[in-house]
Symmetry: none
Subunit: 254 residues, 2 copies
């Protein structure tokens, strides 16, 4: 996102959480998950017994542009083998479980993940197979769960969407993403420039006998002054508006 | 998500922001966008001249389970027609623009949207065509932009993913207390009111031969349209500016 300076200041290079796809079925979804990860700077992907084996052409085709994530995939023969070296693992779950487990939102999970990783620990997030989700046996191996707050009447996030949301929250947890005013090559006008603009307008409106009747004139002036004082005008806007006022008020026939 | 108690306490029924897909190309993406919306309780979708017409079988097939979103789609022949009745419109943009426009994160945009909607105002989010995104001409009609903080080395969110993230943040914003937007006794002008104001100004400026030289005219028009599109104008502001333009352009001696 070249237009926003704040991106450049962020560390896109440091380690992030490992995404662990448990018994994924379709190669397309693995590829789409890789894209979702790399969109937010995550590049550590592990697979537990992918149904169609590995490597998978469809995954590669779908991942276009995020191939580097697939290049470094680790494939494990079982879940313990995939997460054994991690310090803290979340299980994404789509519905209530009988298991007693702390349930995090994606946001708070990624905030915790960032804290743990900053402490030198390694973190993973497990995702179940497309149709059935994680088994209780899988979830039992996790430190905690993550549950996405979906519509109770229609909760149908697919695998890649769920990975995408984790990547998104991981990125946000960096904490320095702020709103920005995109001003192109301009800047906010100084107050004195706005003041002069209002004076210009008042003069032209006086000439046009706009402030009428007399009794209402002070209120009309105040309203206009307040409007232009409040609007987020750039210096380019002010310049353009001077031109507009001048053009509109020009003697006809000149 | 039955596993999380907080869901039940939330209002899934109230109105949410309108998602506006501008010149979408593939039906599959329209269907996927509908799913992404309904996952988070959003059900108001509008389309501006979808490439393959409407209704679209592929959209319906892809939307399975979220068909109610498609059942109530509104198709418009142009962007002004699609957003005319809305009070505040965001444009999703993937990169820096020359246009001066406040840029929100998805999170802060949806927090603001929730506040405005709670005040009885209507809010929209515009998304561009799959390949190219919104044109500057489209963005100029928005009050503000939304930019997703993606990896500078790989920003490739697709249309449905982008819609999904807005839905997700809309849903999350239910739990957030936002700063108040103080509008006094007024409300944001509807977009059609801003559109008419700009048309009024353009007409008067044409009469005043403002757009000169010819080669620069399109850029000058776009800049003015963007300025008025971006400024937080209330309905009272719009009324006052009509009066100002009329007064300034009045024949001298009248």
């Amino acid at each position: 996102m070249s237009g926003t300076d704040h991106s450049a200041a962020l560390d896109w290079q440091g380690p992030g959480p490992v995404m662990v796809l448990v018994r994924p079925q379709m190669g397309e979804n693995i590829g789409a998950a890789a894209r979702g990860m790399w969109n937010f700077g995550l590049d550590r992907l592990r697979l537990v017994t992918p149904r169609d084996g590995w490597p998978n052409e469809r995954a590669v085709a779908m991942a276009s542009g995020a191939g580097r994530v697939l290049d470094h995939v680790i494939v494990a023969e079982d879940l313990p083998g995939a997460i054994g070296d991690l310090n803290f693992v979340f299980a994404t779950t789509a519905r209530g479980r009988e298991l007693t487990k702390e349930v995090f939102t994606p946001e708070s999970a990624m905030v915790l993940a960032r804290k743990l990783i900053a402490d030198g620990q390694s973190v993973g997030v497990m995702f179940g197979p497309e149709r059935s989700g994680l088994e209780n046996e899988d979830v039992a191996r996790a430190n905690a769960s993550i549950s996405v707050p979906v519509n109770p009447a229609f909760g149908s996030l697919n695998l890649a969407q769920c990975v995408l949301l984790m990547g998104y929250e991981w990125r946000k947890s960096a904490g320095v993403v702020a709103d920005a005013m995109e001003l192109g090559r301009t800047r906010f006008a100084e107050r004195v420039e706005v003041e002069k603009l209002v004076e210009h307008l008042m003069l032209k409106l006086d000439e046009a006998r706009f402030f009428f009747p007399e009794a209402k004139a002070p209120g009309m002036r105040e309203n206009l002054r307040n409007m232009f004082g409040r609007l987020p005008l750039s210096d380019a806007d002010v310049k353009a508006l001077h031109g507009v006022f001048r053009a509109l008020a020009r003697e006809k026939g000149q």
